[in-house]
């Protein structure tokens, strides 16, 4: 088999890469060792957020990506539950509120719509919210999507162009390179697929896939658990989270950190997060994490105390030491591109990542500067 592009990984990032490459007229083969959305894509909440990002390259990527998400939803007939619900960040302590307001003012200068909300005003946004919160900020640009559905629909749509083939249950054993170091294709257990471009969209396993081409990428798993309640009538309108979530996301601590993130879904269940810890690929359920998440959620929405939990799920965010994704051509291996390491923001950032990858391969103008996401930026750096 051969194609213009091989995408390794059939999660949301791989699906977006395939979508935009096909749109650019390129032929694509998507391979995944498992199923569509079988990794981190299927283990999150489907966040498309600007609210949790400080001004800088990741925020610019997020702002571009949310526009593209809205566009893709239009093209695909609203088939993946894209919900422009808005985010409400709340503070429980005076110091946190002050910090949140400063953070929001900086974001506003960078193009984010951020509306300060008084303690009383919180109830206009969320009638069932706790009465003892001090205030917050409303971010109307935050959205949510059903990420597994989105990955599947995007791949289905890409296949319908006739230019995209999806090969699940197909593990890449080696990324082949010629004498000059350029990639020439991949080897699977059953065949050789040749292509002048190979995209590493393997998420948390991006470091392992990079190794198949003998280049280093320091991507580590950062574990998280989410609780799922019984289905309820609509009780929570927005994505609601505690202001200390932003600090937790940006932290380098390997130990357990939890901060409340709560939202309803289209199907009526309420999703409760979030936790972060670096414990390798251990998926064992940890009751301490569950307890903390439940407790913090009840502090923000007291009615949740009487609601049943149905189940929990967990997964691994692809963590990079500088909390930025890895996007673009790898100068160490011509023809090899990376689209991974998005940590907890992969769903939101997937659309822009896919577009930039397609533009880099097609040789057209890039929608934004990708230098901050350069794959070789870790060279010589000490990796914790």
């Amino acid at each position: 088999m051969n194609a213009d592009v091989i995408v390794i990984g059939a999660g949301i990032v791989g699906a977006c890469c395939a979508h935009y490459c096909a749109q650019a007229g390129l032929s694509v083969i998507v391979v995944d060792r498992g199923s569509v959305a079988g990794g981190t894509t299927g283990a999150g909440e489907g966040n498309i957020l600007v609210s949790d990002k400080e001004p800088g390259p990741e925020l610019d990527l997020a702002l571009l990506s949310r526009e593209l998400w809205a566009q893709m939803a239009g093209e695909l007939g609203d088939s993946f539950e894209l919900d422009a619900k808005g985010g409400l960040v709340v503070a429980t302590r005076a110091a946190t509120l002050e910090h949140l307001h400063r953070f929001a003012a900086e974001q506003a200068e960078a193009g984010v719509i951020a509306e300060p909300v008084t303690a009383k005003g919180l109830r206009d946004h969320e009638p069932h919210i706790a009465r003892d919160l001090l205030g917050g900020v409303f971010y109307p640009q935050d959205m949510q999507v059903q990420p597994m559905l989105a990955a599947a629909r995007l791949l289905q749509h890409a296949r319908s162009t006739g230019r995209v083939t999806v090969l699940p249950e197909t593990e890449v054993l080696e990324i082949e390179r010629d004498g000059s170091g350029a990639v020439t294709g991949v080897r699977t257990p059953t065949e050789r697929i040749s292509a002048p471009h190979v995209v590493n969209a393997a998420g948390t396993w991006g470091g392992v896939v990079a190794g198949l081409a003998r280049v280093d990428l320091p991507i580590l798993p950062r574990r998280g658990f989410i609780l799922v309640t019984e289905p309820l009538p609509p009780m929570i309108r927005h994505k609601v989270y505690a202001a200390d979530y932003v600090a937790n996301v940006a932290s380098d601590n390997a130990g357990l950190e939890t901060s409340a993130v709560i939202e309803g879904t289209h199907s009526g269940t309420v999703l409760i997060g979030s936790s972060r810890e670096r414990v390798g690929f251990d998926k064992t359920l940890d009751w301490e994490v569950i307890r903390q998440e439940a407790q913090q959620a009840v502090a923000i929405f007291p009615f949740l105390a009487d609601v049943q939990l149905m189940r929990t799920y967990g997964g691994f965010r692809p963590y990079c030491p500088d909390h930025l994704p890895v996007i673009g051509p790898d100068s160490r291996a011509p023809g090899f591109l990376h689209a991974c390491g998005h940590e907890g923001a992969g769903i939101g950032l997937a659309a822009a990542t896919g577009l930039l990858i397609a533009q880099a391969i097609a040789g057209t103008n890039l929608a934004m500067d990708i230098a901050p996401f350069a794959p070789n930026r870790f060279e010589g750096a000490h990796v914790a």
Binding site: P231, M310, R311
Partner: protein, 88 residues
């Protein structure tokens, strides 16, 4: 010796054995479905039978989303068909 007890399902009297789950008692009384889905109004009853799938949800004494496969019948229980999420 197992002892007989009774409960009602949508107001109709039903016989059960003490200690029996609501799901088992309903099936023994010929009732195979006791919930309709949130979006398609499709019928649901017992699926996994071990408390995992949350398909057999039912309203018991006014409390929605009780798993019929795990809850034992209590004498005089007022068991009702659940529509959607059960919260009216």
């Amino acid at each position: 010796m197992s002892r007989e007890t009774s409960f009602t399902f949508d107001g109709a009297p039903m016989a059960a054995v003490e200690g029996q789950t609501i799901a088992a008692a309903l099936i023994e009384n010929g009732v195979m479905s006791w919930r309709t889905t949130r979006f398609g109004d499709r019928p649901r009853g017992l699926f996994c039978g071990i408390g995992v799938c949350f398909d057999c949800l039912i309203t018991v004494n006014g409390e929605p989303n009780v798993r019929a496969c795990l809850s034992a019948v209590e004498p005089g229980d007022d068991v009702r068909t659940q529509a959607g999420d059960g919260h009216v």
